[in-house]
Protein backbone atom coordinates (compact mmCIF):
# COMPACT_ATOMS: atom_id res chain seq x y z
CA UNK A 1 0.00 0.00 0.00
CA UNK A 2 1.65 3.22 -1.13
CA UNK A 3 0.13 5.30 1.64
CA UNK A 4 1.67 3.15 4.33
CA UNK A 5 4.78 5.24 4.68
CA UNK A 6 2.60 8.22 5.53
CA UNK A 7 2.10 6.65 8.90
CA UNK A 8 4.71 7.13 11.57
CA UNK A 9 5.37 3.83 13.25
CA UNK A 10 8.70 3.73 14.95
CA UNK A 11 9.38 0.85 17.31
CA UNK A 12 8.70 2.98 20.35
CA UNK A 13 5.63 4.80 19.06
CA UNK A 14 2.44 3.85 20.86
CA UNK A 15 0.02 3.35 17.99
CA UNK A 16 -2.81 2.75 20.44
CA UNK A 17 -2.82 6.47 21.11
CA UNK A 18 -3.02 7.30 17.41
CA UNK A 19 -5.66 4.65 16.81
CA UNK A 20 -8.01 5.82 19.56
CA UNK A 21 -7.41 9.45 18.72
CA UNK A 22 -8.43 8.64 15.14
CA UNK A 23 -11.47 6.79 16.42
CA UNK A 24 -12.43 9.79 18.56
CA UNK A 25 -12.14 12.05 15.50
CA UNK A 26 -14.37 9.70 13.54
CA UNK A 27 -16.92 9.69 16.36
CA UNK A 28 -16.82 13.47 16.52
CA UNK A 29 -17.71 13.43 12.82
CA UNK A 30 -20.63 11.00 13.05
CA UNK A 31 -21.90 12.31 16.40
CA UNK A 32 -22.43 15.82 15.15
CA UNK A 33 -24.35 15.15 11.96
CA UNK A 34 -28.04 15.37 12.76
CA UNK A 35 -29.70 12.19 11.57
CA UNK A 36 -26.54 10.19 10.80
CA UNK A 37 -27.39 6.59 11.71
CA UNK A 38 -23.76 5.91 12.64
CA UNK A 39 -24.15 8.54 15.36
CA UNK A 40 -26.11 5.88 17.23
CA UNK A 41 -23.07 3.61 17.47
CA UNK A 42 -20.43 5.90 18.90
CA UNK A 43 -19.00 5.83 22.39
CA UNK A 44 -21.60 8.16 23.88
CA UNK A 45 -24.33 5.60 23.21
CA UNK A 46 -22.69 3.05 25.46
CA UNK A 47 -20.71 5.00 28.00
CA UNK A 48 -21.06 7.95 30.32
CA UNK A 49 -18.36 9.76 28.39
CA UNK A 50 -17.87 10.49 24.71
CA UNK A 51 -15.30 11.31 22.07
CA UNK A 52 -14.45 14.62 23.77
CA UNK A 53 -13.02 12.87 26.83
CA UNK A 54 -10.97 10.55 24.62
CA UNK A 55 -9.74 13.50 22.60
CA UNK A 56 -8.70 15.59 25.62
CA UNK A 57 -7.04 12.74 27.49
CA UNK A 58 -5.03 11.76 24.42
CA UNK A 59 -4.24 15.40 23.67
CA UNK A 60 -2.71 15.58 27.14
CA UNK A 61 -0.86 12.35 26.55
CA UNK A 62 0.44 13.63 23.21
CA UNK A 63 1.49 16.93 24.74
CA UNK A 64 3.27 15.09 27.53
CA UNK A 65 5.17 12.94 25.04
CA UNK A 66 6.07 15.84 22.77
CA UNK A 67 7.03 18.52 25.25
CA UNK A 68 7.23 17.04 28.71
CA UNK A 69 9.75 14.40 27.73
CA UNK A 70 12.11 17.02 26.32
CA UNK A 71 11.94 19.16 29.40
CA UNK A 72 15.23 17.85 30.76
CA UNK A 73 17.02 18.49 27.48
CA UNK A 74 15.48 21.81 26.54
CA UNK A 75 14.71 23.42 29.84
CA UNK A 76 11.50 25.17 30.92
CA UNK A 77 11.62 28.26 28.79
CA UNK A 78 12.27 26.46 25.54
CA UNK A 79 9.71 23.75 26.27
CA UNK A 80 7.08 26.25 27.32
CA UNK A 81 7.81 28.28 24.19
CA UNK A 82 7.21 25.19 22.05
CA UNK A 83 3.93 24.55 23.81
CA UNK A 84 2.91 28.16 23.23
CA UNK A 85 3.76 27.83 19.55
CA UNK A 86 1.49 24.81 19.39
CA UNK A 87 -1.26 26.77 21.20
CA UNK A 88 -0.83 29.53 18.63
CA UNK A 89 -1.19 27.03 15.77
CA UNK A 90 -4.39 25.74 17.36
CA UNK A 91 -5.66 29.29 17.83
CA UNK A 92 -5.03 30.21 14.20
CA UNK A 93 -6.69 26.98 13.10
CA UNK A 94 -9.69 27.81 15.26
CA UNK A 95 -10.08 31.30 13.80
CA UNK A 96 -9.76 29.94 10.28
CA UNK A 97 -12.28 27.20 11.02
CA UNK A 98 -14.67 29.76 12.47
CA UNK A 99 -14.58 31.80 9.27
CA UNK A 100 -15.02 28.73 7.08
CA UNK A 101 -17.79 27.21 9.17
CA UNK A 102 -19.62 30.51 9.55
CA UNK A 103 -19.53 31.13 5.80
CA UNK A 104 -20.84 27.65 5.23
CA UNK A 105 -23.64 27.78 7.80
CA UNK A 106 -24.84 31.34 7.25
CA UNK A 107 -24.87 31.02 3.48
CA UNK A 108 -26.77 27.74 3.68
CA UNK A 109 -29.21 29.21 6.18
CA UNK A 110 -30.07 32.11 3.91
CA UNK A 111 -30.01 30.16 0.64
CA UNK A 112 -32.19 27.35 1.99
CA UNK A 113 -34.34 29.46 4.34
CA UNK A 114 -33.22 27.41 7.30
CA UNK A 115 -32.97 29.95 10.06
CA UNK A 116 -32.68 27.14 12.53
CA UNK A 117 -29.05 26.66 11.39
CA UNK A 118 -28.18 30.05 12.83
CA UNK A 119 -29.95 29.51 16.10
CA UNK A 120 -28.72 25.96 16.55
CA UNK A 121 -25.13 26.83 15.76
CA UNK A 122 -25.52 29.89 18.00
CA UNK A 123 -24.47 32.01 15.06
CA UNK A 124 -27.65 34.08 15.41
CA UNK A 125 -25.81 36.60 17.56
CA UNK A 126 -23.45 37.24 14.66
CA UNK A 127 -26.38 38.80 12.83
CA UNK A 128 -27.62 40.63 15.92
CA UNK A 129 -24.30 42.21 16.74
CA UNK A 130 -21.71 41.57 14.01
CA UNK A 131 -18.98 43.97 15.13
CA UNK A 132 -18.97 42.77 18.70
CA UNK A 133 -19.14 39.14 17.56
CA UNK A 134 -15.87 39.30 15.65
CA UNK A 135 -14.12 40.73 18.70
CA UNK A 136 -15.59 38.03 20.90
CA UNK A 137 -14.48 35.31 18.47
CA UNK A 138 -10.93 36.60 18.61
CA UNK A 139 -11.13 36.61 22.41
CA UNK A 140 -12.52 33.04 22.29
CA UNK A 141 -15.53 34.24 24.27
CA UNK A 142 -17.95 33.55 21.42
CA UNK A 143 -18.01 29.86 20.56
CA UNK A 144 -20.61 28.61 18.11
CA UNK A 145 -21.56 24.99 18.65
CA UNK A 146 -18.97 22.54 17.30
CA UNK A 147 -16.40 25.30 17.62
CA UNK A 148 -15.86 24.87 21.34
CA UNK A 149 -13.30 22.07 21.42
CA UNK A 150 -10.40 23.99 19.86
CA UNK A 151 -10.71 26.97 22.25
CA UNK A 152 -10.58 24.48 25.10
CA UNK A 153 -7.48 22.89 23.56
CA UNK A 154 -5.82 26.31 23.19
CA UNK A 155 -6.39 27.18 26.84
CA UNK A 156 -5.26 23.75 27.99
CA UNK A 157 -2.00 24.23 26.09
CA UNK A 158 -1.51 27.67 27.62
CA UNK A 159 -2.10 26.22 31.09
CA UNK A 160 0.34 23.44 30.24
CA UNK A 161 2.98 25.96 29.13
CA UNK A 162 2.57 27.84 32.40
CA UNK A 163 2.83 24.74 34.56
CA UNK A 164 5.29 22.61 32.60
CA UNK A 165 8.02 23.19 35.19
CA UNK A 166 5.84 21.37 37.72
CA UNK A 167 6.49 18.17 35.78
CA UNK A 168 9.55 17.80 37.96
CA UNK A 169 7.13 17.10 40.80
CA UNK A 170 4.35 15.04 39.19
CA UNK A 171 2.51 14.56 42.48
CA UNK A 172 2.38 18.30 43.09
CA UNK A 173 1.07 18.92 39.57
CA UNK A 174 -1.54 16.20 40.01
CA UNK A 175 -2.58 17.55 43.41
CA UNK A 176 -2.92 21.13 42.17
CA UNK A 177 -4.82 20.04 39.10
CA UNK A 178 -7.17 17.92 41.18
CA UNK A 179 -7.70 20.75 43.65
CA UNK A 180 -8.74 23.12 40.85
CA UNK A 181 -11.10 20.45 39.49
CA UNK A 182 -12.70 20.00 42.91
CA UNK A 183 -13.01 23.77 43.21
CA UNK A 184 -14.88 23.84 39.89
CA UNK A 185 -17.23 21.12 41.03
CA UNK A 186 -18.17 23.14 44.10
CA UNK A 187 -18.14 26.66 42.70
CA UNK A 188 -18.85 26.30 38.95
CA UNK A 189 -15.76 28.41 38.32
CA UNK A 190 -15.53 28.88 34.55
CA UNK A 191 -14.15 31.22 31.94
CA UNK A 192 -16.54 33.89 30.84
CA UNK A 193 -18.45 33.45 27.61
CA UNK A 194 -20.19 36.15 25.63
CA UNK A 195 -23.20 33.99 24.94
CA UNK A 196 -24.36 31.67 27.67
CA UNK A 197 -23.10 31.47 31.19
CA UNK A 198 -19.60 30.18 30.57
CA UNK A 199 -17.51 28.06 28.26
CA UNK A 200 -19.26 24.92 27.04
CA UNK A 201 -16.15 22.98 28.04
CA UNK A 202 -14.97 24.52 31.29
CA UNK A 203 -11.15 24.61 30.96
CA UNK A 204 -10.67 24.61 34.73
CA UNK A 205 -12.49 21.29 34.94
CA UNK A 206 -11.16 19.68 31.77
CA UNK A 207 -7.56 20.56 32.60
CA UNK A 208 -7.64 17.72 35.11
CA UNK A 209 -8.23 15.11 32.40
CA UNK A 210 -5.57 16.77 30.24
CA UNK A 211 -3.05 16.75 33.11
CA UNK A 212 -3.82 13.08 33.76
CA UNK A 213 -2.95 12.47 30.10
CA UNK A 214 0.27 14.46 30.46
CA UNK A 215 1.25 12.54 33.58
CA UNK A 216 0.49 9.18 31.98
CA UNK A 217 3.08 10.09 29.36
CA UNK A 218 5.68 11.81 31.55
CA UNK A 219 5.37 10.03 34.87
CA UNK A 220 3.97 6.61 34.04
CA UNK A 221 2.64 4.91 37.11
CA UNK A 222 3.76 1.44 38.02
CA UNK A 223 1.16 -1.27 37.75
CA UNK A 224 -0.40 -1.26 41.20
CA UNK A 225 -0.14 -4.31 43.39
CA UNK A 226 -3.89 -4.74 43.45
CA UNK A 227 -4.32 -4.49 39.72
CA UNK A 228 -7.01 -7.21 39.70
CA UNK A 229 -9.03 -5.07 42.06
CA UNK A 230 -8.53 -2.11 39.74
CA UNK A 231 -9.61 -4.27 36.78
CA UNK A 232 -12.81 -5.16 38.60
CA UNK A 233 -13.48 -1.58 39.63
CA UNK A 234 -12.94 -0.33 36.07
CA UNK A 235 -15.21 -3.03 34.67
CA UNK A 236 -17.86 -2.09 37.23
CA UNK A 237 -17.69 1.59 36.29
CA UNK A 238 -17.97 0.76 32.58
CA UNK A 239 -20.90 -1.61 33.16
CA UNK A 240 -22.69 0.94 35.34
CA UNK A 241 -22.15 3.50 32.58
CA UNK A 242 -23.72 1.15 30.02
CA UNK A 243 -26.64 0.51 32.37
CA UNK A 244 -27.30 4.22 32.88
CA UNK A 245 -26.82 5.15 29.21
CA UNK A 246 -28.70 2.31 27.57
CA UNK A 247 -31.43 1.52 30.09
CA UNK A 248 -32.07 4.35 32.49
CA UNK A 249 -31.58 7.56 30.55
CA UNK A 250 -34.03 6.68 27.77
CA UNK A 251 -36.65 5.54 30.31
CA UNK A 252 -36.02 7.33 33.60
CA UNK A 253 -39.09 5.90 35.29
CA UNK A 254 -38.98 2.37 33.93
CA UNK A 255 -37.07 0.94 36.85
CA UNK A 256 -39.11 2.38 39.67
CA UNK A 257 -37.06 0.79 42.40
CA UNK A 258 -33.99 2.28 40.84
CA UNK A 259 -35.13 5.67 39.67
CA UNK A 260 -35.80 7.00 43.13
CA UNK A 261 -32.44 5.86 44.34
CA UNK A 262 -29.43 7.99 44.98
CA UNK A 263 -27.64 6.23 42.13
CA UNK A 264 -30.02 7.64 39.59
CA UNK A 265 -30.23 10.94 41.33
CA UNK A 266 -26.51 11.45 41.09
CA UNK A 267 -25.57 9.59 37.94
CA UNK A 268 -28.12 10.81 35.48
CA UNK A 269 -27.74 14.50 36.14
CA UNK A 270 -24.28 14.57 34.70
CA UNK A 271 -23.01 17.76 33.10
CA UNK A 272 -20.44 17.81 30.36
CA UNK A 273 -19.37 21.40 30.95
CA UNK A 274 -17.79 20.75 34.33
CA UNK A 275 -16.65 17.21 33.47
CA UNK A 276 -19.07 15.44 35.80
CA UNK A 277 -17.12 13.09 38.10
CA UNK A 278 -18.73 9.97 36.69
CA UNK A 279 -17.78 11.05 33.18
CA UNK A 280 -14.21 11.38 34.41
CA UNK A 281 -14.36 7.98 36.13
CA UNK A 282 -15.78 6.45 32.95
CA UNK A 283 -13.00 7.65 30.69
CA UNK A 284 -10.36 6.61 33.24
CA UNK A 285 -11.94 3.17 33.59
CA UNK A 286 -12.09 2.75 29.82
CA UNK A 287 -8.47 3.85 29.54
CA UNK A 288 -7.40 1.38 32.16
CA UNK A 289 -9.25 -1.47 30.45
CA UNK A 290 -7.82 -0.51 27.05
CA UNK A 291 -4.30 -0.46 28.43
CA UNK A 292 -4.88 -3.83 30.10
CA UNK A 293 -6.57 -5.50 27.15
CA UNK A 294 -4.66 -4.02 24.21
CA UNK A 295 -0.96 -4.55 24.42
CA UNK A 296 1.42 -1.94 23.12
CA UNK A 297 2.73 -4.30 20.40
CA UNK A 298 -0.53 -5.76 19.15
CA UNK A 299 0.05 -6.61 15.47
CA UNK A 300 -3.38 -5.38 14.38
CA UNK A 301 -2.41 -1.83 15.32
CA UNK A 302 0.13 -2.01 12.49
CA UNK A 303 -2.24 -3.69 10.03
CA UNK A 304 -3.77 -1.96 7.06
CA UNK A 305 -7.19 -2.18 8.74
CA UNK A 306 -6.10 0.05 11.56
CA UNK A 307 -4.09 2.29 9.23
CA UNK A 308 -6.89 4.77 8.32
CA UNK A 309 -7.70 5.54 11.96
CA UNK A 310 -4.01 5.70 12.90
CA UNK A 311 -3.51 8.14 10.03
CA UNK A 312 -6.41 10.30 11.27
CA UNK A 313 -5.05 10.23 14.80
CA UNK A 314 -1.56 11.28 13.72
CA UNK A 315 -2.92 14.32 11.88
CA UNK A 316 -5.65 15.30 14.24
CA UNK A 317 -5.79 19.06 13.77
CA UNK A 318 -6.41 19.22 10.01
CA UNK A 319 -8.58 16.12 10.26
CA UNK A 320 -10.69 17.64 13.03
CA UNK A 321 -11.13 20.95 11.20
CA UNK A 322 -12.02 19.32 7.90
CA UNK A 323 -14.38 16.96 9.72
CA UNK A 324 -16.41 19.92 10.97
CA UNK A 325 -16.71 21.32 7.44
CA UNK A 326 -17.44 17.91 5.86
CA UNK A 327 -19.97 17.25 8.61
CA UNK A 328 -22.05 20.25 7.67
CA UNK A 329 -22.02 19.22 4.01
CA UNK A 330 -23.13 15.77 5.13
CA UNK A 331 -25.95 17.34 7.11
CA UNK A 332 -27.17 19.19 4.03
CA UNK A 333 -27.06 15.88 2.16
CA UNK A 334 -29.15 14.14 4.77
CA UNK A 335 -31.68 16.95 4.85
CA UNK A 336 -32.07 16.54 1.11
CA UNK A 337 -32.57 12.79 1.41
CA UNK A 338 -31.88 10.65 4.46
CA UNK A 339 -32.42 7.19 3.04
CA UNK A 340 -29.81 4.44 3.05
CA UNK A 341 -27.82 5.40 -0.08
CA UNK A 342 -27.33 8.93 1.25
CA UNK A 343 -26.45 7.59 4.70
CA UNK A 344 -23.77 5.41 3.14
CA UNK A 345 -22.75 8.26 0.88
CA UNK A 346 -22.20 10.89 3.56
CA UNK A 347 -20.26 8.55 5.81
CA UNK A 348 -18.04 7.41 2.95
CA UNK A 349 -17.64 11.06 2.00
CA UNK A 350 -16.58 11.98 5.52
CA UNK A 351 -14.28 9.00 5.91
CA UNK A 352 -12.72 9.52 2.49
CA UNK A 353 -12.40 13.25 2.97
CA UNK A 354 -10.83 13.03 6.40
CA UNK A 355 -8.43 10.28 5.30
CA UNK A 356 -7.46 12.37 2.27
CA UNK A 357 -6.80 15.40 4.47
CA UNK A 358 -4.82 13.26 6.92
CA UNK A 359 -2.81 11.71 4.10
CA UNK A 360 -2.14 15.12 2.57
CA UNK A 361 -0.93 16.49 5.89
CA UNK A 362 1.27 13.44 6.39
CA UNK A 363 2.62 13.72 2.85
CA UNK A 364 3.60 17.34 3.37
CA UNK A 365 5.44 16.31 6.49
CA UNK A 366 7.31 13.47 4.83
CA UNK A 367 7.98 14.89 1.39
CA UNK A 368 11.58 15.72 0.73
CA UNK A 369 12.64 13.55 3.58
CA UNK A 370 13.50 10.69 1.22
CA UNK A 371 16.20 12.81 -0.42
CA UNK A 372 17.72 13.90 2.83
CA UNK A 373 17.47 10.99 5.23
CA UNK A 374 15.98 12.00 8.52
CA UNK A 375 18.56 13.15 10.92
CA UNK A 376 18.13 12.30 14.54
CA UNK A 377 20.39 15.09 15.69
CA UNK A 378 19.12 17.97 17.74
CA UNK A 379 19.30 20.66 15.01
CA UNK A 380 16.66 18.88 12.93
CA UNK A 381 14.21 18.81 15.76
CA UNK A 382 15.01 22.39 16.58
CA UNK A 383 14.23 23.40 13.03
CA UNK A 384 11.11 21.32 12.90
CA UNK A 385 9.89 20.99 16.43
CA UNK A 386 6.45 20.00 15.27
CA UNK A 387 7.94 16.96 13.63
CA UNK A 388 8.56 15.26 16.91
CA UNK A 389 4.99 15.61 18.02
CA UNK A 390 2.48 12.83 17.78
CA UNK A 391 -0.04 15.37 16.61
CA UNK A 392 1.56 17.73 14.18
CA UNK A 393 -1.74 18.98 12.89
Amino acid sequence: MPGMDLIRRSATRDLRVDFFRGLALWWIYTDHIPGDVLGGYSLQNFAMCDATEVFVLLAGYGAGLSYGMRLNVQGYISSAADVMRRAWTLYVAHIFLFVLFTAQVTYSATALNRLNYLEESRLDVLGDDPYRSILEVVLLRFQPSLLNILPLYVVLMVIFAATIWLLRWPRVLFGLSFAVYVLVRFTSLNLDAWTGEGWYFDPFAWQFLFVIGVLLACAPMRVPVHHRLLDAAAAFVVLLGIMVTVVIEPHPLRLDWFSGSAVLHYLVIEDKTGLYPFRLLSILALTWLCVRLIRFDQPWLRSRWAAPLVLLGQNSLPVFCSGIVFGFVARLGLEYDDRTPMQIGINLFGAGGMIAVGALAAWYRTKGRAKAPRSVSAPASALLPVDAQPDTG
Binding site: A109, L115, E119, E197, Y200, V268, E270, E335
Partner: protein, 256 residues
Protein backbone atom coordinates in the same frame (compact mmCIF):
# COMPACT_ATOMS: atom_id res chain seq x y z
CA UNK B 1 -29.81 23.13 -10.11
CA UNK B 2 -32.08 23.61 -7.13
CA UNK B 3 -35.31 22.83 -8.88
CA UNK B 4 -34.79 19.07 -8.98
CA UNK B 5 -34.49 18.57 -5.23
CA UNK B 6 -37.38 20.92 -4.66
CA UNK B 7 -39.48 19.04 -7.16
CA UNK B 8 -38.64 15.77 -5.42
CA UNK B 9 -39.64 17.24 -2.07
CA UNK B 10 -42.88 18.59 -3.44
CA UNK B 11 -43.67 15.20 -4.97
CA UNK B 12 -42.98 13.60 -1.59
CA UNK B 13 -45.20 16.11 0.15
CA UNK B 14 -48.01 15.57 -2.33
CA UNK B 15 -47.60 11.81 -2.05
CA UNK B 16 -47.88 11.96 1.72
CA UNK B 17 -50.80 14.36 1.54
CA UNK B 18 -53.58 11.76 1.83
CA UNK B 19 -52.04 10.42 5.02
CA UNK B 20 -52.19 13.90 6.51
CA UNK B 21 -55.80 14.27 5.57
CA UNK B 22 -56.68 11.17 7.56
CA UNK B 23 -55.13 12.45 10.74
CA UNK B 24 -57.40 13.66 13.48
CA UNK B 25 -56.47 17.29 13.86
CA UNK B 26 -57.05 20.29 11.64
CA UNK B 27 -53.37 20.81 10.92
CA UNK B 28 -52.87 17.24 9.84
CA UNK B 29 -51.03 15.62 12.70
CA UNK B 30 -52.00 12.60 14.71
CA UNK B 31 -52.28 13.27 18.44
CA UNK B 32 -52.31 9.97 20.31
CA UNK B 33 -54.60 10.06 23.33
CA UNK B 34 -51.90 8.88 25.71
CA UNK B 35 -49.85 11.96 24.87
CA UNK B 36 -52.64 14.25 26.04
CA UNK B 37 -53.29 12.59 29.38
CA UNK B 38 -51.46 14.20 32.28
CA UNK B 39 -49.92 11.86 34.83
CA UNK B 40 -51.93 13.60 37.55
CA UNK B 41 -55.15 15.64 37.60
CA UNK B 42 -54.89 19.40 37.02
CA UNK B 43 -57.02 20.35 40.02
CA UNK B 44 -56.68 24.12 39.77
CA UNK B 45 -57.60 23.97 36.09
CA UNK B 46 -60.65 21.88 36.91
CA UNK B 47 -61.77 24.35 39.58
CA UNK B 48 -61.24 27.31 37.27
CA UNK B 49 -63.09 25.72 34.35
CA UNK B 50 -65.98 24.96 36.66
CA UNK B 51 -66.09 28.67 37.48
CA UNK B 52 -66.21 29.57 33.80
CA UNK B 53 -62.71 30.58 32.76
CA UNK B 54 -59.03 29.83 32.75
CA UNK B 55 -56.10 32.22 33.21
CA UNK B 56 -52.95 30.84 31.64
CA UNK B 57 -49.33 31.90 31.93
CA UNK B 58 -46.98 30.51 29.28
CA UNK B 59 -43.33 30.87 30.11
CA UNK B 60 -40.59 29.70 27.81
CA UNK B 61 -37.82 30.34 25.32
CA UNK B 62 -37.94 30.89 21.54
CA UNK B 63 -40.68 28.44 20.61
CA UNK B 64 -43.02 29.76 23.30
CA UNK B 65 -42.67 33.44 22.52
CA UNK B 66 -42.63 32.73 18.78
CA UNK B 67 -39.13 33.93 18.03
CA UNK B 68 -37.07 31.43 16.14
CA UNK B 69 -34.01 33.53 15.55
CA UNK B 70 -34.53 36.81 13.77
CA UNK B 71 -30.93 37.53 12.95
CA UNK B 72 -30.79 36.11 9.46
CA UNK B 73 -31.78 39.53 8.22
CA UNK B 74 -35.21 41.05 8.00
CA UNK B 75 -36.25 38.96 5.01
CA UNK B 76 -35.59 35.76 6.88
CA UNK B 77 -36.98 36.61 10.25
CA UNK B 78 -39.66 34.31 11.43
CA UNK B 79 -41.32 36.00 14.32
CA UNK B 80 -44.80 34.86 14.99
CA UNK B 81 -45.51 36.35 18.36
CA UNK B 82 -49.21 35.73 18.15
CA UNK B 83 -48.95 32.37 16.45
CA UNK B 84 -46.67 30.37 18.74
CA UNK B 85 -48.09 27.23 20.31
CA UNK B 86 -49.48 28.83 23.51
CA UNK B 87 -51.65 31.17 21.39
CA UNK B 88 -52.74 28.27 19.23
CA UNK B 89 -53.56 26.33 22.40
CA UNK B 90 -55.89 29.09 23.53
CA UNK B 91 -57.49 29.16 20.07
CA UNK B 92 -58.03 25.41 20.34
CA UNK B 93 -59.43 25.75 23.87
CA UNK B 94 -61.89 28.38 22.70
CA UNK B 95 -62.98 26.07 19.89
CA UNK B 96 -63.34 23.11 22.25
CA UNK B 97 -65.09 25.03 25.06
CA UNK B 98 -66.84 27.93 23.32
CA UNK B 99 -68.73 29.06 26.41
CA UNK B 100 -65.68 29.62 28.56
CA UNK B 101 -63.33 32.57 28.97
CA UNK B 102 -59.60 32.03 28.37
CA UNK B 103 -56.82 34.54 28.94
CA UNK B 104 -53.19 34.06 28.05
CA UNK B 105 -50.01 35.82 29.12
CA UNK B 106 -46.81 34.84 27.34
CA UNK B 107 -43.45 35.57 28.93
CA UNK B 108 -39.84 34.61 28.45
CA UNK B 109 -37.62 35.00 25.40
CA UNK B 110 -35.28 33.38 22.98
CA UNK B 111 -32.27 31.62 24.57
CA UNK B 112 -33.64 32.21 28.05
CA UNK B 113 -32.71 29.69 30.72
CA UNK B 114 -35.05 28.44 33.43
CA UNK B 115 -32.88 30.32 35.89
CA UNK B 116 -33.56 33.57 34.04
CA UNK B 117 -37.27 32.77 33.83
CA UNK B 118 -37.75 32.04 37.52
CA UNK B 119 -37.88 35.75 38.56
CA UNK B 120 -40.38 36.37 35.75
CA UNK B 121 -42.48 33.52 37.05
CA UNK B 122 -42.41 34.87 40.60
CA UNK B 123 -43.20 38.36 39.37
CA UNK B 124 -46.14 37.20 37.26
CA UNK B 125 -47.52 34.98 40.00
CA UNK B 126 -47.32 37.86 42.47
CA UNK B 127 -49.01 40.32 40.12
CA UNK B 128 -51.84 38.16 38.78
CA UNK B 129 -53.66 35.00 39.55
CA UNK B 130 -53.08 32.19 37.10
CA UNK B 131 -54.79 28.83 37.17
CA UNK B 132 -52.14 27.09 35.15
CA UNK B 133 -48.55 27.80 34.21
CA UNK B 134 -46.99 26.24 31.13
CA UNK B 135 -43.25 26.26 31.56
CA UNK B 136 -41.30 25.28 28.47
CA UNK B 137 -37.65 24.76 29.33
CA UNK B 138 -34.60 22.49 29.16
CA UNK B 139 -33.48 23.23 25.60
CA UNK B 140 -31.32 26.24 26.35
CA UNK B 141 -29.75 24.43 29.33
CA UNK B 142 -28.88 21.45 27.14
CA UNK B 143 -27.49 23.59 24.33
CA UNK B 144 -25.32 25.56 26.74
CA UNK B 145 -24.36 22.50 28.75
CA UNK B 146 -25.54 24.01 32.03
CA UNK B 147 -25.71 21.85 35.08
CA UNK B 148 -28.78 19.63 35.24
CA UNK B 149 -28.76 19.78 39.03
CA UNK B 150 -29.10 23.55 38.99
CA UNK B 151 -31.99 23.19 36.52
CA UNK B 152 -33.54 20.84 39.02
CA UNK B 153 -33.29 23.27 41.92
CA UNK B 154 -34.66 26.11 39.78
CA UNK B 155 -37.63 23.98 38.73
CA UNK B 156 -38.21 22.89 42.31
CA UNK B 157 -38.35 26.54 43.35
CA UNK B 158 -40.69 27.29 40.45
CA UNK B 159 -42.92 24.37 41.34
CA UNK B 160 -43.13 25.58 44.92
CA UNK B 161 -43.95 29.11 43.78
CA UNK B 162 -46.70 27.85 41.48
CA UNK B 163 -48.09 25.69 44.24
CA UNK B 164 -48.18 28.60 46.68
CA UNK B 165 -49.96 30.70 44.08
CA UNK B 166 -52.52 27.92 43.57
CA UNK B 167 -51.59 27.30 39.97
CA UNK B 168 -51.04 23.96 38.25
CA UNK B 169 -47.64 23.69 36.65
CA UNK B 170 -47.30 21.97 33.29
CA UNK B 171 -43.69 21.56 32.20
CA UNK B 172 -43.04 21.39 28.47
CA UNK B 173 -39.87 19.60 27.47
CA UNK B 174 -37.62 20.35 24.44
CA UNK B 175 -38.90 19.93 20.95
CA UNK B 176 -37.41 17.01 19.05
CA UNK B 177 -34.76 17.87 16.52
CA UNK B 178 -32.04 15.77 15.01
CA UNK B 179 -29.66 18.64 15.56
CA UNK B 180 -30.39 18.79 19.26
CA UNK B 181 -30.11 15.03 19.57
CA UNK B 182 -26.74 15.08 17.84
CA UNK B 183 -25.27 18.19 19.37
CA UNK B 184 -26.57 18.36 22.89
CA UNK B 185 -26.83 15.76 25.59
CA UNK B 186 -30.53 16.04 26.29
CA UNK B 187 -31.12 13.06 28.52
CA UNK B 188 -29.93 14.53 31.86
CA UNK B 189 -32.28 17.48 31.37
CA UNK B 190 -35.14 15.24 30.27
CA UNK B 191 -34.58 13.16 33.38
CA UNK B 192 -34.72 16.25 35.58
CA UNK B 193 -38.02 17.33 33.99
CA UNK B 194 -39.40 13.82 34.41
CA UNK B 195 -38.34 13.70 38.04
CA UNK B 196 -39.82 17.11 38.87
CA UNK B 197 -43.06 16.05 37.24
CA UNK B 198 -43.47 13.09 39.58
CA UNK B 199 -44.62 15.30 42.44
CA UNK B 200 -48.38 15.86 42.06
CA UNK B 201 -48.98 19.57 41.32
CA UNK B 202 -46.50 19.32 38.46
CA UNK B 203 -47.02 17.37 35.25
CA UNK B 204 -44.94 17.07 32.10
CA UNK B 205 -46.26 17.58 28.61
CA UNK B 206 -44.10 15.30 26.45
CA UNK B 207 -43.43 17.63 23.56
CA UNK B 208 -40.24 15.76 22.66
CA UNK B 209 -41.98 12.41 22.19
CA UNK B 210 -44.90 13.97 20.36
CA UNK B 211 -42.82 15.97 17.91
CA UNK B 212 -40.51 13.00 17.43
CA UNK B 213 -43.51 10.86 16.50
CA UNK B 214 -44.56 13.49 13.96
CA UNK B 215 -41.06 13.51 12.50
CA UNK B 216 -40.83 9.72 12.38
CA UNK B 217 -44.16 9.40 10.63
CA UNK B 218 -43.27 12.23 8.26
CA UNK B 219 -46.18 14.39 9.38
CA UNK B 220 -44.28 17.46 10.54
CA UNK B 221 -40.56 17.56 9.99
CA UNK B 222 -39.00 21.02 10.11
CA UNK B 223 -35.59 19.58 9.32
CA UNK B 224 -36.72 17.96 6.08
CA UNK B 225 -38.86 20.67 4.59
CA UNK B 226 -38.34 22.74 1.49
CA UNK B 227 -37.59 26.42 1.60
CA UNK B 228 -41.09 27.30 0.40
CA UNK B 229 -42.86 25.04 2.87
CA UNK B 230 -40.92 26.01 5.95
CA UNK B 231 -43.09 28.83 7.28
CA UNK B 232 -46.22 26.79 6.65
CA UNK B 233 -44.68 23.86 8.47
CA UNK B 234 -43.78 25.99 11.49
CA UNK B 235 -47.38 27.21 11.55
CA UNK B 236 -48.65 23.63 11.32
CA UNK B 237 -46.36 22.59 14.16
CA UNK B 238 -47.70 25.40 16.35
CA UNK B 239 -51.27 24.43 15.48
CA UNK B 240 -50.65 20.79 16.33
CA UNK B 241 -48.85 21.53 19.59
CA UNK B 242 -51.56 23.99 20.56
CA UNK B 243 -54.25 21.44 19.84
CA UNK B 244 -52.42 18.73 21.79
CA UNK B 245 -51.87 21.04 24.77
CA UNK B 246 -55.50 22.13 24.78
CA UNK B 247 -56.58 18.50 24.94
CA UNK B 248 -53.98 17.85 27.64
CA UNK B 249 -55.28 20.67 29.81
CA UNK B 250 -58.92 19.64 29.39
CA UNK B 251 -58.09 15.97 29.99
CA UNK B 252 -56.29 16.97 33.18
CA UNK B 253 -59.37 18.80 34.38
CA UNK B 254 -61.73 16.00 33.41
CA UNK B 255 -59.83 13.47 35.49
CA UNK B 256 -60.60 15.45 38.60
Amino acid sequence: MQSLPLACLLVTLVATGPAWAQADSPAGCAIPTEMTEPSAPLQRVATALAKGGLDILALGSGSTVGDSGASGGAALAYQAHERSFPYRMVDALRALRPGLRFTLTVAGGRSMTADAMLPILRHELAAHHYDVVLWQTGTVEAVQGLRPDSLRSVLEDGAAAADEAHADLVLVDPQFSRFLRANADLSPYETVLTQIATSPPVTLFHRFDLTQAWVNSGQIDLERVSREMRDKTIAALNDCLGEALARYVLAGAAEH
